[in-house]
């Protein structure tokens, strides 16, 4: 087996027993990237030189017996997340030349341990999309089938892990952007509870929806990375003070007697591919065999989640993206007046979907429309939260498909925004409620495409959600 094909757990063992070095491991990943990136386009920036230096320092830590869980482990970071002294574009031309002076908190925690930053991954610009076709640096192709999308918005991160270009990735999920590409690429993706991980250095999209989470090859690896990055941060006032549990011991516990809710709205024949439904239902039987109790439940507000999302997120988004104006950083278009400078920089620097959402958000928040759209959506959001609260009174976790279909063809949905938005019907509700959701591979379609199964739990139940997911993949 090639070194880049290892899991974090296996790599840790190999590094600590000196079977190979962190430099060997980094070189294997860089080799793979050279081999495959021109086809897959997972990376916008590859950090060959600095990665090898970081790997060398990691080897020194290991030699001194000072290795921590992620020392020497090569990882990628979505380009919408700040990495010190490494170009970060968010896949938009307006930041084509932007070099952050600081690391995002979650990145810092990993690099301080000696994690090796291999490169920055392609994504839908500023997180806007469900296919990675809204990148101004070209689409990302699915490693399982190059004519298909990798999913979005974290397509590059998903593909980089699925294709063994690195051992894990850090990405963000606002409306499904970690879970959906994880499902399309057959890997594990966790959206943590809102406030569990620090958003400092995560380029903001929708401040009350954004989360940052890992993408890994296994659930055990997920627990390892979450242990390192989770926790309160003084630089992010929306992080919760709750103690971070021992995730590795939580995922190993028994699942007997756990009540698994199957919400009927997620299995409605009108909304889901027959093949997907069969695969997920087979996985539910798998859980039952392990002693979990399967309970039929209903979440009637499910069908409104996308509408709520596409009012609130563009609104918060239009506000956050106001900072990208060509004035203090990024690419400044020439302009005779100040207005021209703003208007041209933003026209040239953003792709179509980003402009669309800024316009929708500006409209929804403008005088005369605020109550009809924004306030109404916030109220329905409350009802969605209550829907989940009620159901979690009867069951411990929910199991659903992650996506209504497997990876679609590049270009298939690019011209129909609503069709693209509906790709997120199963991952969107968790975002309104601020609850965690994990996607693990549950099987493959007849044509060989991965199908993700999603587990959701109450707020701050990452350990439980990972435990059930861990048992699914057995």
């Amino acid at each position: 087996m090639k070194l880049n094909e290892l899991t974090i757990k296996e790599a840790r063992a190999g590094l600590d027993t000196k079977k190979f070095s962190a430099v060997d491991l980094a070189k294997a990943c860089l080799e793979r990237i050279k081999e495959r990136n021109s086809e897959i386009n997972a990376f916008i920036t590859v950090c060959e030189e600095s990665a090898l230096q970081e790997a060398k320092r990691a080897d020194e830590m290991i030699a001194k017996g000072e290795a921590l869980p992620l020392t020497g482990i090569p990882f990628s970071v979505k380009d919408a997340i700040d990495t010190a002294n490494v170009r970060s574009t968010a896949s938009a031309k307006i930041l084509d030349n932007y070099i952050p002076p600081f690391d995002a908190t979650v990145v810092k925690k990993i690099r301080q341990q000696g994690g090796v930053l291999i490169g920055k991954t392609n994504c839908d610009a500023f997180g806007h999309g469900a296919s990675n076709e809204n990148s101004m640096y070209g689409p990302v192709r699915n490693p399982h089938n190059l004519s298909k999308v990798a999913g979005g918005s974290s397509g590059g991160s998903a593909a980089s892990v699925a294709d063994n270009m690195c051992l894990f990735s850090l990405a963000e999920d606002t409306g499904g952007s970690i879970r959906q590409p994880a499902s399309f690429c057959g890997i594990v993706g966790l959206r943590p509870s809102y406030g569990r991980n620090s958003r400092f250095g995560i380029m903001p999209m929708a401040s009350s929806f954004d989360t940052v989470g890992p993408m890994t090859k296994t659930v055990e690896d997920m627990a390892i990375v979450m242990q390192v990055i989770a926790g309160q941060d003084n630089l992010d006032a929306t992080t919760v003070p709750d103690r971070v549990p021992d995730y590795l011991s939580e995922i190993g516990g028994s699942v007997k007697g756990l009540r698994v809710g199957v919400p009927r709205e997620y299995f409605d024949n009108d909304n889901i591919d027959k093949e997907i439904k069969k695969i997920v239902e087979a996985q539910i039987k798998n859980l039952e065999k392990q002693g979990m109790k399967i309970v039929d439940v209903s979440l009637p507000l499910t069908k409104y989640a996308i509408a709520v999302y596409y009012i609130l997120v563009p609104s918060e988004d239009s506000s956050n993206l106001g900072r990208l104006d060509g004035v203090r950083y990024g690419v400044r278009a020439p302009g005779e007046s100040l207005f021209d400078l703003y208007a041209q920089s933003r026209e040239q620097g953003f792709p179509e979907e980003v402009k669309r959402r800024i316009l929708i958000g500006t409209y929804a928040l403008s005088a005369g429309y605020y109550d009809a759209y924004y306030k109404k959506a916030q109220q329905v959001r409350t009802l969605i939260r209550q829907d989940f609260d009620r159901v979690f009174g009867e069951i411990d976790v929910l199991v659903t498909p992650t996506s209504p279909f497997a990876a679609f063809a590049i270009g298939e949905k690019a011209n129909d925004p609503i069709q693209m938005y509906l790709a997120d019907i199963f991952v969107s509700p968790a975002c309104s409620a601020g609850i965690p959701g994990i996607s693990v591979n549950g099987g493959f379609t007849k044509s060989g495409l991965p199908v993700g199964v999603q587990i959701m739990g109450p707020r701050l139940s990452e350990g439980l959600v990972m435990k059930v997911a861990n048992n699914l993949s057995k």
Binding site: N85, Y98, I99, P101, Y194, G195, S208, N234, A237, T238, V240, L301, K303, Y304, I306, A307, V308, Y310, I311, S318, D325, G326, V327, R328, Y329, G330, R332, G335, E336, S337, L338, F339, L341, A343, Q344, R346, E347, E352, K355, R356, I358, L359, I360, T362, Y363, S366, Y373, K375, K376, A377, Q378, Q379, V380, R381, T382, R385, P417, I418, Y421, G434
Partner: protein, 99 residues
């Protein structure tokens, strides 16, 4: 269409984006479709329901009002598109009285 090209023009002005005529047309169409789609929320009875602004329930997260020196001054200046005498250069703010 739920939204006219004039309205798109007005919003683009507020959002400081200079759209082409083609884009104005396209956006008027797609945004109308999105607005029609989100109107389904009117089916939901929200009488007396509190709006959700944030999901953590946290309140008044504060710190002491103390100044700290910025450690990244050089790097931040290096990111600025146009610098003169260690100052960020921009077009005159009050030159055009219409805007």
């Amino acid at each position: 269409m739920s939204i006219s090209i004039e309205e798109v023009r007005k919003i683009a002005q507020l959002a400081r984006i200079k759209l082409t005529t083609e884009e104005e047309q396209r956006h008027a169409q797609t945004i109308s479709t999105v607005l029609d789609f989100v109107r389904t929320l009117n089916e939901v009875d929200t009488t007396g329901v509190e709006p959700t602004a944030q999901v953590t329930g946290l309140e008044d997260v504060v710190r002491f009002d103390m100044t700290e020196d910025c450690p990244h001054k050089k790097e931040l200046l290096a990111q600025m598109p146009l610098v003169e005498n260690n100052l960020l250069k921009v077009p005159a703010v009050f030159k055009d009285s219409e805007e």
